[in-house]
Symmetry: C2
Subunit: 187 residues, 2 copies
Amino acid sequence: MTERPLPTKDRLIRTAAELFQRSGYHGVGLSELLAAADAPKGSLYHHFPNGKSDLAIAAATWASDGMLRMIAASFEPADSFMEGVETLCHKIAKLFDKSGRWDTCPISATLFEGPDNTSFRDHAYHLYKGWISEVTHHARRFGLPAPEETADTLFILLQGGWQLARARQSSDVLRALPGKLPAAKTD
Amino acid sequence: MTERPLPTKDRLIRTAAELFQRSGYHGVGLSELLAAADAPKGSLYHHFPNGKSDLAIAAATWASDGMLRMIAASFEPADSFMEGVETLCHKIAKLFDKSGRWDTCPISATLFEGPDNTSFRDHAYHLYKGWISEVTHHARRFGLPAPEETADTLFILLQGGWQLARARQSSDVLRALPGKLPAAKTD
DNA sequence: ACACGGCTAGACCGATTGGTCCAGTGAGGA
DNA sequence: TCCTCACTGGACCAATCGGTCTAGCCGTGT
């Protein structure tokens, strides 16, 4: 997993993201993480002087960037807002199935349950805001009446949907999400 | 906190629920937990032979029962389904504010991030099913056209809404939830 | 050819983890 | 009165935690 040719720093970030999503910040030990990334302790503390917490923030940011790209890739080629929503939900459903269906949202897994450090929580909200404002942008572009509120609702549906999908072990929940968005009016 | 007259076992369950919600299963050490509950280690392993994991399941079940009562108390005196939803969302918003606005859903905090034990995940879904079927029952009672689907959606909105509320540090998200439920038709 | 510095490798550290074990303790029944 | 047993209190344990530190590898610039 997470192939070898990548530079050590990137390998650390990717495996950290992966493991934190699976077991949460406190649920992953450095030894397990370093073994999975095939990196020695020295490298970790070279690239991330503050150790685990620095790495966690980097991992969450990296995962968030991926999500941001997924949102953009769903809405940009779409002919309507709802078409973008549909594409996004299907992409996320696929991601869910690929993840083994037990992972948590990368940001909440990594940052909300981290040390009670305020900066962790602030960063989490910062990343979430990025997702929401990206959706808001597209909602506005398609002339939706209440772009901010619609973006909020989509975010809520995705977060809650992911949770229920995880409990049910089925991505069907995620695929059914578009029908629950009030803006499903077909203009 | 969690006053003294309660029997030790109950004190353990309550403080476990509280702490797990704040920091997650792996984020709370036994020493911290026992200190908060003012109980010695011997008592923990007397009441819960399997230690932390047994306690976690008991704590999640206890928290879930409280939620179940809150759902019932919201819908039973209501004159319509939407009135019940409104009441429930406001109750939860209050709970959110009282919790310090950083806690996680007690079940996902306790069970989803616990040991990768399957029984943990199964129990989590079992508890969630309890919530959803309670809502389904009331939806059917009020003659809603699609009771199961409506209950699912309410669950999704509550889970996602809680998450966004936590990020934003504001319970307004939760209070606005009823308006996002498609069944908001006023019959 | 040599020195420099980014990076790796892993031994080592004290603190804390979850868990075990047993000697009390004290209320209730015989 | 004494026995019993559910319960408490805490010493103790190996394992693991996150983190520090230093020795050396190796590519690059001069």
